[in-house]
């Protein structure tokens, strides 16, 4: 796995890089530290900072390459991710919120929106990666998200909980009500559509995880699980439809990125 750790030289970005490094602890991982400066004169200072961070990360067991670019942060990060073919781009959250972010945009938001590979947005302060919550919506893309979580779990030694949220309400007298309160175990035992999917997801994890089902609004239930379960990483997919469908569907991932108190890995394409 190729992991691109992005930093602007700030202590917050260094924290994000340290957290991101935990994704690539397997021997076949490659890590690159990327710093972007607005002024060319700052490039040397940035390089020295990155090399120091690189030495620190190497001491933790990872070998890091260093790259310094000059220009617009989001643009340079996206270019580097594309050129180097990064599997995951790791970026810290900028402090802007609300109207300021709406007006000015944000590096993280732009990278999230336009990156072709997966993106890890580091939020909050999680010292270690021990518990991962992988959300799955069903179908092949949902299994791919779980596989991505499984790959990280294998590298970091973390445990994965696969979460599926059912937000259905009965519309007719013929609705089968037990589904509205069923646990993951119930659904798997009865081999319902959701149960079969969860069984496949667990198979991807090879004994490294458990399945859970919650009932309610999708975004609310995922966030409630993150808080109640004290997870270190939230893994969600970004398998957005194209064309008209893109405008019709709500962006659940965007809501989660906005409100999650822990780092969020947005999975795109192959893990």
């Amino acid at each position: 796995m190729k992991i691109l750790l992005c930093t602007d030289g700030s202590p917050e970005a260094a924290k994000a890089a340290r957290f991101g490094m935990q994704l690539g602890r397997s021997p076949d991982s490659e890590i690159r530290l990327l710093g972007v400066v607005e002024q060319r004169d700052d490039a040397e200072t940035m390089r020295r900072g990155l090399e120091a961070l690189g030495r620190e990360l190497s001491a933790l067991g990872a070998h890091c390459g260093v790259e310094v670019r000059h220009g617009h942060a989001a643009e340079q990060i996206l270019n580097e991710a594309e050129t180097w073919q990064a599997d995951v781009t790791v970026i810290g959250q900028l402090g802007r919120r609300g109207l300021t972010r709406f007006l000015m945009g944000g590096t993280a938001a732009r990278v999230m929106q336009y990156a072709r590979g997966s993106v890890l947005l580091v939020k909050g302060h999680r010292p270690a990666l021990k518990k991962i919550l992988a959300c799955t919506a069903g179908g092949e893309p949902g299994l791919r998200d779980v596989a991505a979580a499984g790959q990280i779990a294998a590298a970091s030694g973390a445990l994965v909980t696969v979460l599926h949220v059912m937000s259905q309400v009965p519309l007719t007298e013929h609705a089968y009500l037990p589904d509205l309160t069923a646990t993951a175990e119930d659904l798997i035992a009865r081999q319902t559509r959701e149960g079969v999917h969860l069984r496949s997801a667990l198979n991807q994890l090879q004994g490294r995880g458990a399945a859970k089902v919650r009932h309610g609004f999708v975004v609310d239930e995922i966030l409630a699980e993150v808080r109640e379960g004290d997870y270190d990483l939230l893994v969600v997919g970004a398998h957005r439809a194209r064309g008209l469908t893109r405008w019709l569907l709500d962006d659940v991932t965007a809501h989660l990125i906005e409100d999650s108190p822990v780092p969020v890995l947005v999975v795109r394409g192959e893990p």
Binding site: A137, G138, G139, S167, Q168, V169, P170, L171, T172, E173, H174, A175, Y176, L177, D179, L180, G216, F217, V218, V219, D220, W247, L248, L249, D250, V252
Partner: protein
């Protein structure tokens, strides 16, 4: 016979024409009846203020098991001089609020016969709570619009030619009926006839049934609230009934489920365009202010719905579902809620 001709459903066209004819006849009868009724209502002091008429419309919807006939009756009473524009507005509001209780009441009867509350009441309760939570603030917005006269210049009524044509056709029939059913009875006959008219129009409407496979994937998807809002509004323009529009959501899930996220904005949209038949009635009434009242009704509901969608949608839907769960959570809560819903319009009317 050509294939085009074979595709035309002549029975539906027949129902549509008959429905329209009976609908206009009912409006004319209620108009004639309202003129006789107006002084009687004044004497009995039954409908003195907008709160009385709110209760009257609400209770009326219970009695005829539908909101539309009561809304049309409100317009007739306005034309006959029995109601002011504000009273007409609140009576139409009451008719829709009462109509939203009917689905819930039917579910309640199912529950009393041993069905589970969640299944029997779920959608009816969600529909009622959505309707009420929007209509109550909308009533304030509408009252402001009506009292300020903001939309007074927006009028629409049937052209003079159409009005004379309708008079030529319907006046003799109304005169014949008033000959044997004088006074108060004319209005009652009008209400009966409009129920027949809605029945005929229902038969004329296209059957909006979607196959399960067409939406095989959609139950897994969460749509933008504004998309579901527009869809609910568009479907209800055709179906003219919130409950019919809701039943259309069934094929969105093969197992009778739809997503919570998708239902509430759909109902919000449906709650605006459900007034379309009342809007048509207001044009046919041939009194320009009738149109303004219904327009204010639709506009105020639309304004409140859009504000909710734009600013507080997530907490709004959370609180709505929480309230629904609280009501159905304990039999005592549900019983108190049902009794309140039955007693409230009577109290409003007789206070």
């Amino acid at each position: 016979m050509s294939s085009t001709l074979r595709r035309i459903n002549f029975a539906k066209i027949g129902y549509a024409l008959a429905g329209l004819f009976v609908f206009v006849l009912a409006l004319q009868l209620m108009k004639a009846g309202a003129k006789v009724l107006a002084p009687m209502l004044e004497e009995t002091a039954l409908l003195q203020d907008p709160v009385d008429s709110l209760g009257f419309g609400w209770l009326g919807a219970y009695l005829v098991l539908s909101g539309s006939p009561v809304a049309a009756a409100a317009l007739s009473l306005f034309n006959g001089g029995a109601l002011t524009s504000l009273q007409t507005f609140t009576m139409i509001n009451g008719s829709r609020m009462g109509a939203s209780f009917i689905v819930l009441f039917i579910g309640f009867l199912y529950m009393l016969r041993g069905h589970e509350p969640k299944r029997s009441l779920g959608m009816g309760l969600l529909s009622l709570l959505t309707t009420w939570s929007i209509y109550l603030p909308a009533m304030l917005v509408g009252t402001l619009l009506l009292t300020n006269g903001t939309l007074d210049h927006v009028h629409m009524s049937a052209s003079a030619e159409l009005a004379s044509f309708m008079d030529a056709i319907f006046d003799p029939i109304v005169a014949w009926i008033t000959g044997w059913a004088p006074g108060l009875l004319i209005f009652a006959v009008g209400v009966g006839v409009i129920l027949i008219a809605f029945n005929l129009i229902d038969r004329a409407l296209p059957e909006l049934k979607l196959g399960g496979t067409e939406f095989e994937l959609t139950p897994r998807l969460v749509y933008r609230p504004i998309v579901m809002f527009a869809l609910g509004g568009a479907v209800t323009v055709v179906s003219m009934s919130v409950s019919v529009s809701l039943s259309l959501l069934v094929p969105l899930s093969a197992r009778g489920y739809v997503r919570r996220e998708n239902v509430i904005p759909y109902i919000m949209g449906a709650n605006i365009t459900t007034f379309v038949d009342t809007l048509v009635a207001s044009v046919l009434m041939n009194r320009p202010q009738s149109f303004t009242i219904v327009l204010v009704e639709m506009l105020s509901v639309a304004i409140v719905s859009l504000i909710v969608l734009a600013f507080i949608y997530r907490p709004y839907e959370r609180q709505l579902l929480r309230l629904g769960s609280w009501i159905t959570g304990r039999r005592r809560n549900l019983t108190v809620f049902m009794l309140t819903m039955i007693a409230a319009p009577i109290i409003l009317l007789l206070r």
